[in-house]
Amino acid sequence: MHMADALVAPAVAGTMYACSAAAAGWAVKKVQEEDDPKKVPLMGVMGAFVFAGQMINFTIPGTGSSGHLCGGMLVSAVLGPFAGFLTMIGVLLIQCLLFADGGLLALGCNIWNMAFYGCFIGAGLLWRRIMKNGPDKKKITYASVIGCILTLQLGALSVTAETLASGITELPFAVFAAAMQPIHLVIGLVEGLITAAVLCFLYEARPELIWTGDSGKSAAGAKKPKLSFRKVLLALTGAFILIGGALSLAASANPDGLEWSIQKITGSAELAASGPVHAAAGRIQSLTSLLPDYSIPDRETMLGTSLSGIFGGLAVIVLCIAVCYLFGLFRKKGRHEQNQ
Protein backbone atom coordinates (compact mmCIF):
# COMPACT_ATOMS: atom_id res chain seq x y z
CA MET A 1 0.00 0.00 0.00
CA HIS A 2 3.08 2.25 -0.09
CA MET A 3 2.27 5.37 -2.09
CA ALA A 4 4.87 6.71 -4.51
CA ASP A 5 5.66 10.44 -4.72
CA ALA A 6 4.05 10.66 -8.13
CA LEU A 7 0.67 9.79 -6.66
CA VAL A 8 0.40 12.82 -4.37
CA ALA A 9 0.26 16.54 -4.99
CA PRO A 10 2.53 18.70 -2.76
CA ALA A 11 -0.50 20.25 -1.00
CA VAL A 12 -1.93 16.83 -0.09
CA ALA A 13 1.53 15.59 0.92
CA GLY A 14 2.06 18.65 3.13
CA THR A 15 -1.31 18.20 4.82
CA MET A 16 -0.65 14.54 5.52
CA TYR A 17 2.87 15.36 6.79
CA ALA A 18 1.30 17.82 9.24
CA CYS A 19 -1.27 15.23 10.42
CA SER A 20 1.37 12.52 10.81
CA ALA A 21 3.77 14.92 12.55
CA ALA A 22 1.07 15.86 15.06
CA ALA A 23 0.39 12.17 15.78
CA ALA A 24 4.15 11.51 16.04
CA GLY A 25 4.59 14.43 18.44
CA TRP A 26 1.87 13.04 20.65
CA ALA A 27 3.42 9.55 20.51
CA VAL A 28 6.89 10.91 21.38
CA LYS A 29 5.42 12.71 24.40
CA LYS A 30 3.65 9.56 25.58
CA VAL A 31 6.73 7.37 25.17
CA GLN A 32 8.86 9.90 27.03
CA GLU A 33 6.28 9.98 29.84
CA GLU A 34 6.63 6.20 30.20
CA ASP A 35 10.33 6.80 30.96
CA ASP A 36 11.41 3.24 30.15
CA PRO A 37 15.00 3.33 28.85
CA LYS A 38 14.74 -0.28 27.64
CA LYS A 39 11.99 0.67 25.25
CA VAL A 40 14.12 2.48 22.65
CA PRO A 41 16.38 -0.50 21.86
CA LEU A 42 13.32 -2.76 21.85
CA MET A 43 11.61 -0.41 19.42
CA GLY A 44 14.69 -0.42 17.18
CA VAL A 45 15.03 -4.19 17.14
CA MET A 46 11.27 -4.71 16.71
CA GLY A 47 11.39 -2.31 13.76
CA ALA A 48 14.17 -4.36 12.21
CA PHE A 49 12.11 -7.50 12.92
CA VAL A 50 9.08 -6.09 11.07
CA PHE A 51 11.35 -5.20 8.18
CA ALA A 52 12.80 -8.72 8.06
CA GLY A 53 9.46 -10.41 8.77
CA GLN A 54 7.81 -8.64 5.85
CA MET A 55 10.42 -10.12 3.54
CA ILE A 56 9.26 -13.67 4.28
CA ASN A 57 6.45 -14.86 2.04
CA PHE A 58 3.69 -17.01 3.45
CA THR A 59 1.68 -19.31 1.23
CA ILE A 60 -2.03 -18.53 1.16
CA PRO A 61 -3.79 -21.91 1.21
CA GLY A 62 -5.80 -22.74 -1.91
CA THR A 63 -4.22 -19.99 -4.02
CA GLY A 64 -0.95 -19.60 -5.82
CA SER A 65 -0.10 -16.35 -4.06
CA SER A 66 1.51 -15.32 -0.80
CA GLY A 67 1.21 -12.61 1.85
CA HIS A 68 3.20 -11.04 4.65
CA LEU A 69 2.56 -9.84 8.18
CA CYS A 70 0.80 -6.62 9.16
CA GLY A 71 3.47 -4.53 10.88
CA GLY A 72 1.44 -1.87 12.70
CA MET A 73 -0.84 -4.25 14.58
CA LEU A 74 1.95 -6.68 15.44
CA VAL A 75 4.38 -4.10 16.78
CA SER A 76 1.67 -2.31 18.74
CA ALA A 77 0.48 -5.58 20.27
CA VAL A 78 3.93 -5.86 21.85
CA LEU A 79 5.07 -2.27 22.37
CA GLY A 80 1.75 -0.44 22.73
CA PRO A 81 0.30 2.02 20.20
CA PHE A 82 2.60 4.98 20.88
CA ALA A 83 5.93 3.17 20.74
CA GLY A 84 4.50 1.02 17.94
CA PHE A 85 3.62 4.10 15.91
CA LEU A 86 7.13 5.54 16.25
CA THR A 87 8.64 2.18 15.31
CA MET A 88 6.50 2.01 12.19
CA ILE A 89 7.61 5.52 11.20
CA GLY A 90 11.21 4.32 11.41
CA VAL A 91 10.40 1.24 9.31
CA LEU A 92 8.59 3.31 6.67
CA LEU A 93 11.42 5.85 6.50
CA ILE A 94 14.02 3.15 5.96
CA GLN A 95 11.85 1.31 3.43
CA CYS A 96 11.46 4.57 1.56
CA LEU A 97 15.13 5.50 1.57
CA LEU A 98 16.71 2.11 1.02
CA PHE A 99 14.22 0.34 -1.19
CA ALA A 100 12.21 3.16 -2.79
CA ASP A 101 9.16 1.52 -1.20
CA GLY A 102 7.02 4.65 -0.87
CA GLY A 103 8.25 8.15 -1.66
CA LEU A 104 9.93 10.74 0.52
CA LEU A 105 7.23 13.30 -0.25
CA ALA A 106 4.49 10.72 0.27
CA LEU A 107 5.97 9.60 3.59
CA GLY A 108 3.38 11.58 5.56
CA CYS A 109 0.59 9.82 3.63
CA ASN A 110 2.19 6.40 4.12
CA ILE A 111 2.65 6.99 7.85
CA TRP A 112 -1.00 7.93 8.12
CA ASN A 113 -2.33 5.12 5.92
CA MET A 114 -0.24 2.31 7.33
CA ALA A 115 1.04 3.27 10.78
CA PHE A 116 -1.64 5.57 12.20
CA TYR A 117 -4.61 3.31 11.52
CA GLY A 118 -2.75 0.13 12.47
CA CYS A 119 -1.33 1.48 15.71
CA PHE A 120 -3.99 3.86 16.98
CA ILE A 121 -7.22 2.43 15.58
CA GLY A 122 -6.20 -1.23 15.36
CA ALA A 123 -4.21 -1.50 18.59
CA GLY A 124 -5.05 1.64 20.55
CA LEU A 125 -8.82 1.24 20.29
CA LEU A 126 -9.71 -2.25 19.11
CA TRP A 127 -6.94 -4.40 20.61
CA ARG A 128 -7.01 -2.59 23.96
CA ARG A 129 -10.78 -3.00 24.21
CA ILE A 130 -10.79 -6.70 23.33
CA MET A 131 -7.89 -7.45 25.71
CA LYS A 132 -9.43 -5.47 28.58
CA ASN A 133 -10.14 -8.58 30.67
CA GLY A 134 -6.92 -10.36 29.77
CA PRO A 135 -5.83 -12.02 26.53
CA ASP A 136 -6.44 -15.55 25.29
CA LYS A 137 -5.84 -17.18 21.92
CA LYS A 138 -9.40 -16.67 20.72
CA LYS A 139 -9.35 -12.98 21.54
CA ILE A 140 -5.90 -12.53 19.99
CA THR A 141 -7.06 -14.15 16.73
CA TYR A 142 -10.27 -12.14 16.68
CA ALA A 143 -8.53 -8.83 17.46
CA SER A 144 -5.75 -9.43 14.93
CA VAL A 145 -8.05 -10.39 12.06
CA ILE A 146 -10.66 -7.70 12.68
CA GLY A 147 -7.95 -5.10 13.39
CA CYS A 148 -5.99 -5.86 10.22
CA ILE A 149 -9.09 -5.90 8.02
CA LEU A 150 -10.39 -2.66 9.50
CA THR A 151 -7.09 -0.80 9.37
CA LEU A 152 -6.33 -1.96 5.84
CA GLN A 153 -9.77 -0.85 4.70
CA LEU A 154 -9.21 2.56 6.27
CA GLY A 155 -5.74 2.75 4.74
CA ALA A 156 -7.02 1.78 1.28
CA LEU A 157 -9.80 4.36 1.52
CA SER A 158 -7.25 7.01 2.48
CA VAL A 159 -5.04 6.06 -0.48
CA THR A 160 -8.05 6.50 -2.77
CA ALA A 161 -8.96 9.84 -1.22
CA GLU A 162 -5.39 11.16 -1.29
CA THR A 163 -4.82 10.12 -4.91
CA LEU A 164 -8.10 11.66 -6.03
CA ALA A 165 -7.50 14.84 -4.02
CA SER A 166 -4.14 15.11 -5.78
CA GLY A 167 -5.88 14.96 -9.18
CA ILE A 168 -3.66 12.08 -10.30
CA THR A 169 -6.20 9.75 -11.81
CA GLU A 170 -9.23 10.29 -14.00
CA LEU A 171 -11.00 7.38 -12.28
CA PRO A 172 -14.19 8.39 -10.45
CA PHE A 173 -14.10 7.89 -6.65
CA ALA A 174 -16.61 4.99 -6.71
CA VAL A 175 -14.67 3.09 -9.39
CA PHE A 176 -11.32 3.61 -7.66
CA ALA A 177 -12.73 2.64 -4.26
CA ALA A 178 -14.43 -0.40 -5.78
CA ALA A 179 -11.05 -1.52 -7.09
CA MET A 180 -9.14 -0.80 -3.88
CA GLN A 181 -11.44 -1.96 -1.08
CA PRO A 182 -12.20 -5.60 -2.04
CA ILE A 183 -8.57 -6.48 -2.74
CA HIS A 184 -7.53 -4.97 0.59
CA LEU A 185 -10.28 -6.96 2.29
CA VAL A 186 -8.56 -10.16 1.17
CA ILE A 187 -5.09 -8.81 1.99
CA GLY A 188 -6.33 -7.69 5.41
CA LEU A 189 -7.74 -11.13 6.13
CA VAL A 190 -4.50 -12.89 5.20
CA GLU A 191 -2.30 -10.39 7.05
CA GLY A 192 -4.61 -10.67 10.04
CA LEU A 193 -4.27 -14.45 10.09
CA ILE A 194 -0.46 -14.26 9.86
CA THR A 195 -0.36 -11.64 12.63
CA ALA A 196 -2.71 -13.76 14.75
CA ALA A 197 -0.53 -16.84 14.25
CA VAL A 198 2.58 -14.97 15.41
CA LEU A 199 0.85 -13.35 18.39
CA CYS A 200 -0.74 -16.66 19.47
CA PHE A 201 2.70 -18.24 19.40
CA LEU A 202 4.07 -15.34 21.42
CA TYR A 203 1.19 -15.66 23.89
CA GLU A 204 1.99 -19.34 24.43
CA ALA A 205 5.74 -18.84 24.70
CA ARG A 206 5.98 -15.50 26.55
CA PRO A 207 2.52 -14.18 27.54
CA GLU A 208 4.04 -11.27 29.50
CA LEU A 209 5.15 -9.72 26.20
CA ILE A 210 1.60 -9.16 24.97
CA TRP A 211 0.44 -5.58 25.47
CA THR A 212 -3.06 -5.28 26.91
CA GLY A 213 -3.13 -1.64 27.88
CA ASP A 214 -2.96 -2.48 31.60
CA SER A 215 0.47 -0.96 32.15
CA GLY A 216 -0.68 2.27 30.55
CA LYS A 217 -3.77 2.31 32.78
CA SER A 218 -1.80 1.74 36.00
CA ALA A 219 0.76 4.36 35.05
CA ALA A 220 -2.03 6.83 34.40
CA GLY A 221 -3.69 5.89 37.70
CA ALA A 222 -0.53 6.76 39.67
CA LYS A 223 -0.77 10.44 38.84
CA LYS A 224 -3.66 12.75 38.32
CA PRO A 225 -4.59 13.08 34.67
CA LYS A 226 -3.18 16.29 33.21
CA LEU A 227 -6.31 17.15 31.26
CA SER A 228 -9.00 17.76 33.87
CA PHE A 229 -12.64 18.48 32.97
CA ARG A 230 -12.11 22.13 33.92
CA LYS A 231 -9.09 22.45 31.60
CA VAL A 232 -10.94 20.84 28.71
CA LEU A 233 -13.90 23.16 29.26
CA LEU A 234 -11.62 26.22 29.40
CA ALA A 235 -9.81 25.18 26.22
CA LEU A 236 -13.11 24.60 24.42
CA THR A 237 -14.43 27.96 25.60
CA GLY A 238 -11.29 29.70 24.35
CA ALA A 239 -11.54 27.89 21.02
CA PHE A 240 -15.19 28.77 20.39
CA ILE A 241 -14.63 32.43 21.37
CA LEU A 242 -11.77 32.57 18.87
CA ILE A 243 -13.56 30.67 16.10
CA GLY A 244 -17.08 31.92 16.69
CA GLY A 245 -16.11 35.49 17.60
CA ALA A 246 -13.16 36.26 15.38
CA LEU A 247 -12.85 33.72 12.56
CA SER A 248 -16.58 33.85 11.76
CA LEU A 249 -15.94 37.34 10.35
CA ALA A 250 -13.82 35.75 7.65
CA ALA A 251 -16.57 33.30 6.65
CA SER A 252 -17.23 33.15 2.93
CA ALA A 253 -20.25 35.02 1.61
CA ASN A 254 -20.64 32.46 -1.18
CA PRO A 255 -23.37 29.82 -0.91
CA ASP A 256 -22.43 26.46 0.63
CA GLY A 257 -22.44 23.21 -1.35
CA LEU A 258 -26.15 22.50 -0.94
CA GLU A 259 -27.17 26.10 -1.61
CA TRP A 260 -24.93 26.16 -4.66
CA SER A 261 -26.55 22.98 -6.03
CA ILE A 262 -30.05 24.38 -5.41
CA GLN A 263 -29.07 27.66 -7.05
CA LYS A 264 -27.80 25.80 -10.11
CA ILE A 265 -31.07 23.88 -10.43
CA THR A 266 -33.72 26.42 -9.43
CA GLY A 267 -31.92 29.74 -9.95
CA SER A 268 -32.39 30.74 -6.29
CA ALA A 269 -30.30 29.80 -3.21
CA GLU A 270 -33.40 29.20 -1.11
CA LEU A 271 -36.47 27.16 -1.90
CA ALA A 272 -39.83 28.81 -1.36
CA ALA A 273 -42.15 26.57 0.65
CA SER A 274 -45.90 26.90 1.04
CA GLY A 275 -48.61 25.27 3.11
CA PRO A 276 -49.88 25.58 6.70
CA VAL A 277 -47.18 23.33 8.22
CA HIS A 278 -44.38 25.38 6.67
CA ALA A 279 -46.06 28.62 7.77
CA ALA A 280 -46.41 27.36 11.38
CA ALA A 281 -42.80 26.15 11.45
CA GLY A 282 -41.65 29.51 10.06
CA ARG A 283 -43.55 31.39 12.79
CA ILE A 284 -42.00 29.20 15.53
CA GLN A 285 -38.54 29.72 14.05
CA SER A 286 -38.91 33.50 13.85
CA LEU A 287 -40.02 33.56 17.49
CA THR A 288 -37.21 31.32 18.80
CA SER A 289 -34.29 32.53 16.67
CA LEU A 290 -32.52 35.26 18.60
CA LEU A 291 -29.98 36.00 15.90
CA PRO A 292 -31.57 35.15 12.54
CA ASP A 293 -29.15 34.75 9.59
CA TYR A 294 -26.21 35.04 12.06
CA SER A 295 -26.82 38.76 12.76
CA ILE A 296 -28.73 41.11 15.11
CA PRO A 297 -32.33 41.47 13.79
CA ASP A 298 -32.67 44.35 11.29
CA ARG A 299 -28.98 45.32 11.65
CA GLU A 300 -26.25 43.51 9.72
CA THR A 301 -23.09 44.35 11.67
CA MET A 302 -19.78 42.60 12.40
CA LEU A 303 -20.76 42.52 16.07
CA GLY A 304 -23.88 40.59 15.19
CA THR A 305 -21.88 37.95 13.31
CA SER A 306 -19.39 37.57 16.18
CA LEU A 307 -22.19 37.43 18.76
CA SER A 308 -23.94 34.74 16.75
CA GLY A 309 -20.76 32.65 16.68
CA ILE A 310 -20.18 32.97 20.43
CA PHE A 311 -23.83 32.44 21.30
CA GLY A 312 -24.04 29.36 19.07
CA GLY A 313 -20.88 27.87 20.62
CA LEU A 314 -22.19 28.48 24.14
CA ALA A 315 -25.52 26.90 23.29
CA VAL A 316 -23.79 23.78 21.93
CA ILE A 317 -21.59 23.43 25.05
CA VAL A 318 -24.57 23.85 27.39
CA LEU A 319 -26.53 21.31 25.37
CA CYS A 320 -23.64 18.81 25.39
CA ILE A 321 -23.15 19.14 29.16
CA ALA A 322 -26.90 18.75 29.71
CA VAL A 323 -26.97 15.59 27.58
CA CYS A 324 -23.94 14.20 29.47
CA TYR A 325 -25.67 14.81 32.82
CA LEU A 326 -28.92 13.39 31.51
CA PHE A 327 -27.25 10.12 30.55
CA GLY A 328 -25.17 10.05 33.74
CA LEU A 329 -21.84 10.12 31.93
CA PHE A 330 -20.13 12.28 34.55
CA ARG A 331 -21.79 10.55 37.48
CA LYS A 332 -20.77 7.10 36.29
CA LYS A 333 -17.10 8.13 36.15
CA GLY A 334 -17.22 9.56 39.69
CA ARG A 335 -18.78 6.37 41.02
CA HIS A 336 -16.19 4.28 39.23
CA GLU A 337 -13.39 6.34 40.80
CA GLN A 338 -14.98 5.90 44.26
CA ASN A 339 -15.13 2.14 43.78
CA GLN A 340 -11.46 2.08 42.94
Binding site: V31, M46, G47, M55, I94, F99, E170, A197, V198
Partner: protein, 266 residues
Protein backbone atom coordinates in the same frame (compact mmCIF):
# COMPACT_ATOMS: atom_id res chain seq x y z
CA UNK B 1 19.39 -14.89 -5.24
CA UNK B 2 16.53 -14.81 -2.72
CA UNK B 3 14.60 -11.63 -1.98
CA UNK B 4 16.16 -11.31 1.49
CA UNK B 5 19.68 -11.84 0.13
CA UNK B 6 19.02 -9.23 -2.54
CA UNK B 7 17.95 -6.77 0.17
CA UNK B 8 21.11 -7.44 2.23
CA UNK B 9 23.24 -7.06 -0.88
CA UNK B 10 21.51 -3.76 -1.72
CA UNK B 11 22.08 -2.36 1.78
CA UNK B 12 25.78 -3.29 1.61
CA UNK B 13 26.02 -1.60 -1.81
CA UNK B 14 24.34 1.57 -0.51
CA UNK B 15 26.64 1.63 2.52
CA UNK B 16 29.72 1.24 0.33
CA UNK B 17 28.59 3.99 -2.03
CA UNK B 18 27.71 6.40 0.78
CA UNK B 19 31.02 5.94 2.54
CA UNK B 20 33.07 6.98 -0.52
CA UNK B 21 34.93 10.28 -0.49
CA UNK B 22 33.31 11.76 -3.60
CA UNK B 23 32.51 15.39 -4.34
CA UNK B 24 28.82 14.96 -3.65
CA UNK B 25 29.45 12.75 -0.61
CA UNK B 26 31.41 15.55 1.05
CA UNK B 27 28.50 18.01 0.85
CA UNK B 28 26.77 18.61 4.18
CA UNK B 29 23.91 16.08 4.67
CA UNK B 30 21.42 18.82 5.56
CA UNK B 31 22.06 20.52 2.20
CA UNK B 32 21.51 17.27 0.32
CA UNK B 33 18.38 16.39 2.28
CA UNK B 34 16.83 19.83 1.76
CA UNK B 35 17.70 19.88 -1.94
CA UNK B 36 16.14 16.42 -2.38
CA UNK B 37 12.88 17.37 -0.66
CA UNK B 38 12.78 20.70 -2.53
CA UNK B 39 13.40 18.98 -5.86
CA UNK B 40 10.73 16.32 -5.29
CA UNK B 41 8.17 18.91 -4.14
CA UNK B 42 8.69 21.10 -7.21
CA UNK B 43 8.74 18.13 -9.57
CA UNK B 44 5.45 16.88 -8.18
CA UNK B 45 3.88 20.32 -8.52
CA UNK B 46 3.95 20.23 -12.36
CA UNK B 47 0.48 20.17 -13.92
CA UNK B 48 -0.48 16.78 -15.37
CA UNK B 49 -0.67 18.12 -18.93
CA UNK B 50 2.86 19.54 -18.98
CA UNK B 51 5.35 16.79 -19.81
CA UNK B 52 7.51 19.27 -21.75
CA UNK B 53 8.34 21.30 -18.67
CA UNK B 54 9.00 18.30 -16.49
CA UNK B 55 11.72 17.02 -18.87
CA UNK B 56 13.92 19.87 -17.70
CA UNK B 57 13.94 18.39 -14.21
CA UNK B 58 16.25 15.65 -15.44
CA UNK B 59 19.10 18.10 -14.88
CA UNK B 60 19.41 17.40 -11.13
CA UNK B 61 19.65 13.60 -11.29
CA UNK B 62 21.88 13.79 -14.37
CA UNK B 63 24.35 16.20 -12.75
CA UNK B 64 24.37 14.30 -9.45
CA UNK B 65 24.98 10.98 -11.19
CA UNK B 66 27.82 12.45 -13.23
CA UNK B 67 29.43 14.27 -10.31
CA UNK B 68 28.96 11.35 -7.91
CA UNK B 69 30.18 8.68 -10.34
CA UNK B 70 26.92 6.75 -10.01
CA UNK B 71 25.84 4.10 -12.49
CA UNK B 72 22.85 5.31 -14.52
CA UNK B 73 21.87 1.75 -15.48
CA UNK B 74 21.68 0.58 -11.87
CA UNK B 75 19.73 3.69 -10.90
CA UNK B 76 17.24 3.22 -13.73
CA UNK B 77 16.76 -0.42 -12.73
CA UNK B 78 15.64 0.89 -9.36
CA UNK B 79 12.70 2.59 -11.06
CA UNK B 80 10.98 -0.60 -12.21
CA UNK B 81 8.69 -1.29 -9.20
CA UNK B 82 7.68 2.36 -8.84
CA UNK B 83 6.90 2.77 -12.51
CA UNK B 84 4.75 -0.36 -12.39
CA UNK B 85 2.79 1.07 -9.44
CA UNK B 86 2.39 4.49 -11.03
CA UNK B 87 1.39 2.85 -14.30
CA UNK B 88 -1.27 0.80 -12.48
CA UNK B 89 -2.83 4.00 -11.11
CA UNK B 90 -2.40 6.08 -14.26
CA UNK B 91 -3.52 3.39 -16.73
CA UNK B 92 -7.13 4.54 -16.43
CA UNK B 93 -6.31 8.05 -17.63
CA UNK B 94 -6.09 7.27 -21.40
CA UNK B 95 -9.50 5.55 -21.20
CA UNK B 96 -11.29 8.31 -19.31
CA UNK B 97 -9.64 11.39 -20.85
CA UNK B 98 -9.95 10.89 -24.61
CA UNK B 99 -9.80 14.52 -25.70
CA UNK B 100 -7.25 14.73 -28.55
CA UNK B 101 -4.68 17.42 -27.76
CA UNK B 102 -2.54 17.07 -30.88
CA UNK B 103 -1.49 14.55 -33.49
CA UNK B 104 1.93 12.93 -33.73
CA UNK B 105 1.76 12.04 -37.44
CA UNK B 106 -1.26 9.75 -37.85
CA UNK B 107 -1.42 8.98 -34.09
CA UNK B 108 -3.84 11.09 -32.03
CA UNK B 109 -2.34 12.08 -28.67
CA UNK B 110 -5.04 12.37 -26.00
CA UNK B 111 -5.03 14.22 -22.66
CA UNK B 112 -5.06 10.89 -20.82
CA UNK B 113 -1.91 9.73 -22.62
CA UNK B 114 -0.14 12.97 -21.74
CA UNK B 115 -1.20 12.87 -18.07
CA UNK B 116 -0.05 9.27 -17.76
CA UNK B 117 3.33 10.11 -19.31
CA UNK B 118 3.71 13.08 -16.92
CA UNK B 119 2.83 10.85 -13.98
CA UNK B 120 5.47 8.31 -14.95
CA UNK B 121 8.12 10.99 -15.40
CA UNK B 122 7.27 12.43 -12.00
CA UNK B 123 7.53 8.99 -10.40
CA UNK B 124 10.86 8.29 -12.08
CA UNK B 125 12.43 11.61 -11.06
CA UNK B 126 11.22 11.38 -7.46
CA UNK B 127 12.63 7.88 -7.00
CA UNK B 128 15.90 8.88 -8.64
CA UNK B 129 16.26 11.86 -6.28
CA UNK B 130 15.67 9.75 -3.14
CA UNK B 131 17.98 7.03 -4.43
CA UNK B 132 20.74 9.53 -5.17
CA UNK B 133 20.40 10.93 -1.67
CA UNK B 134 20.92 7.56 -0.02
CA UNK B 135 23.72 6.68 -2.47
CA UNK B 136 25.70 9.76 -1.50
CA UNK B 137 24.74 10.13 2.16
CA UNK B 138 25.05 7.51 4.90
CA UNK B 139 22.06 6.75 7.11
CA UNK B 140 24.01 8.15 10.07
CA UNK B 141 24.47 11.45 8.22
CA UNK B 142 20.79 11.59 7.26
CA UNK B 143 19.89 11.04 10.93
CA UNK B 144 22.32 13.85 11.83
CA UNK B 145 20.52 16.15 9.36
CA UNK B 146 17.17 15.11 10.85
CA UNK B 147 18.44 16.08 14.30
CA UNK B 148 19.46 19.47 12.91
CA UNK B 149 15.87 19.82 11.72
CA UNK B 150 14.75 19.16 15.32
CA UNK B 151 13.30 15.71 14.71
CA UNK B 152 12.92 14.23 18.24
CA UNK B 153 15.98 12.41 19.56
CA UNK B 154 14.02 9.26 20.35
CA UNK B 155 12.95 8.90 16.71
CA UNK B 156 16.40 9.46 15.30
CA UNK B 157 17.91 6.97 17.77
CA UNK B 158 15.29 4.42 16.82
CA UNK B 159 15.86 4.87 13.07
CA UNK B 160 19.59 4.33 13.61
CA UNK B 161 18.91 1.21 15.66
CA UNK B 162 16.55 -0.21 13.04
CA UNK B 163 19.16 0.44 10.38
CA UNK B 164 21.92 -1.20 12.42
CA UNK B 165 19.90 -4.30 13.16
CA UNK B 166 18.08 -4.71 9.92
CA UNK B 167 20.94 -6.61 8.30
CA UNK B 168 21.39 -8.88 11.33
CA UNK B 169 17.71 -9.75 11.39
CA UNK B 170 17.47 -10.07 7.63
CA UNK B 171 20.26 -12.63 7.74
CA UNK B 172 18.52 -14.42 10.58
CA UNK B 173 15.27 -14.45 8.59
CA UNK B 174 17.14 -15.80 5.58
CA UNK B 175 18.67 -18.62 7.69
CA UNK B 176 15.25 -19.54 9.07
CA UNK B 177 13.50 -19.57 5.71
CA UNK B 178 16.42 -21.45 4.12
CA UNK B 179 16.26 -24.10 6.85
CA UNK B 180 12.50 -24.35 6.29
CA UNK B 181 12.79 -24.66 2.52
CA UNK B 182 15.40 -27.43 2.90
CA UNK B 183 12.95 -29.36 5.03
CA UNK B 184 10.04 -28.60 2.71
CA UNK B 185 11.43 -28.73 -0.83
CA UNK B 186 9.31 -27.69 -3.84
CA UNK B 187 7.07 -25.59 -1.60
CA UNK B 188 6.52 -21.94 -2.41
CA UNK B 189 6.47 -19.79 0.72
CA UNK B 190 5.79 -20.97 4.26
CA UNK B 191 2.88 -23.35 4.95
CA UNK B 192 0.11 -21.81 7.07
CA UNK B 193 0.66 -24.33 9.90
CA UNK B 194 4.18 -22.96 10.39
CA UNK B 195 3.32 -19.25 10.17
CA UNK B 196 3.19 -18.62 13.92
CA UNK B 197 6.12 -20.79 14.96
CA UNK B 198 8.48 -19.56 12.31
CA UNK B 199 7.94 -15.84 12.60
CA UNK B 200 7.31 -16.11 16.34
CA UNK B 201 10.74 -17.66 16.81
CA UNK B 202 12.29 -14.81 14.89
CA UNK B 203 10.35 -12.35 17.02
CA UNK B 204 11.45 -13.96 20.30
CA UNK B 205 15.05 -13.96 19.16
CA UNK B 206 14.69 -10.27 18.22
CA UNK B 207 13.29 -9.39 21.63
CA UNK B 208 16.09 -11.28 23.38
CA UNK B 209 18.56 -9.53 21.14
CA UNK B 210 17.05 -6.18 22.13
CA UNK B 211 17.77 -7.03 25.77
CA UNK B 212 21.39 -7.90 24.95
CA UNK B 213 21.71 -4.76 22.84
CA UNK B 214 20.37 -2.64 25.68
CA UNK B 215 22.79 -4.16 28.21
CA UNK B 216 25.79 -3.65 25.93
CA UNK B 217 24.67 -0.10 25.20
CA UNK B 218 24.49 0.61 28.93
CA UNK B 219 28.03 -0.74 29.36
CA UNK B 220 29.20 1.70 26.70
CA UNK B 221 27.58 4.63 28.52
CA UNK B 222 24.26 4.90 26.64
CA UNK B 223 22.17 7.72 28.12
CA UNK B 224 19.17 7.66 25.82
CA UNK B 225 20.75 8.94 22.63
CA UNK B 226 23.53 8.11 20.20
CA UNK B 227 26.54 10.34 19.82
CA UNK B 228 26.81 10.90 16.10
CA UNK B 229 30.48 10.69 15.31
CA UNK B 230 30.53 12.81 12.13
CA UNK B 231 29.53 16.31 13.15
CA UNK B 232 29.98 18.27 9.97
CA UNK B 233 29.91 22.03 9.74
CA UNK B 234 28.03 23.67 6.91
CA UNK B 235 30.99 24.86 4.77
CA UNK B 236 30.85 27.33 1.90
CA UNK B 237 30.69 24.60 -0.75
CA UNK B 238 27.63 23.04 0.94
CA UNK B 239 25.92 26.41 1.29
CA UNK B 240 26.54 27.20 -2.41
CA UNK B 241 25.28 23.71 -3.35
CA UNK B 242 22.10 24.28 -1.36
CA UNK B 243 21.42 27.81 -2.59
CA UNK B 244 22.35 26.90 -6.18
CA UNK B 245 20.04 23.91 -6.46
CA UNK B 246 17.17 25.64 -4.70
CA UNK B 247 17.38 28.40 -7.29
CA UNK B 248 17.89 26.10 -10.29
CA UNK B 249 14.93 23.91 -9.31
CA UNK B 250 12.62 26.93 -9.05
CA UNK B 251 13.91 28.13 -12.42
CA UNK B 252 13.33 24.74 -14.03
CA UNK B 253 9.84 24.64 -12.61
CA UNK B 254 8.76 27.97 -14.06
CA UNK B 255 10.89 28.22 -17.22
CA UNK B 256 10.55 25.46 -19.78
CA UNK B 257 14.12 24.74 -20.84
CA UNK B 258 13.09 22.99 -24.04
CA UNK B 259 10.76 25.79 -25.14
CA UNK B 260 13.46 28.34 -24.35
CA UNK B 261 16.06 26.41 -26.33
CA UNK B 262 13.61 26.09 -29.23
CA UNK B 263 12.82 29.81 -29.30
CA UNK B 264 16.54 30.66 -29.15
CA UNK B 265 17.23 28.38 -32.12
CA UNK B 266 14.44 30.05 -34.11
Amino acid sequence: MSRINEAVHEIHHLDAMASREGRINRIHPLSKLLVTVWYITFTMSFPVYEPGGIFGMILYPAVTMRAGGISAVRSIRKLKPVLLLVCAVGIANPFFDRAVLFRAGPLPVTGGMISMATLMLKGAFAVLASYLLILTTSMESICYALRLLHVPKIMVTMVLLIYRYVIVLLKEAERISQAYSMRAPDQKGIHYRAWGTLLGQLMLRSIDRAQTVYESMLLRGFDGSFRLSKKQKMDRRSAVYLAGWLGIVVLLRYVSVFKLAGSLLE
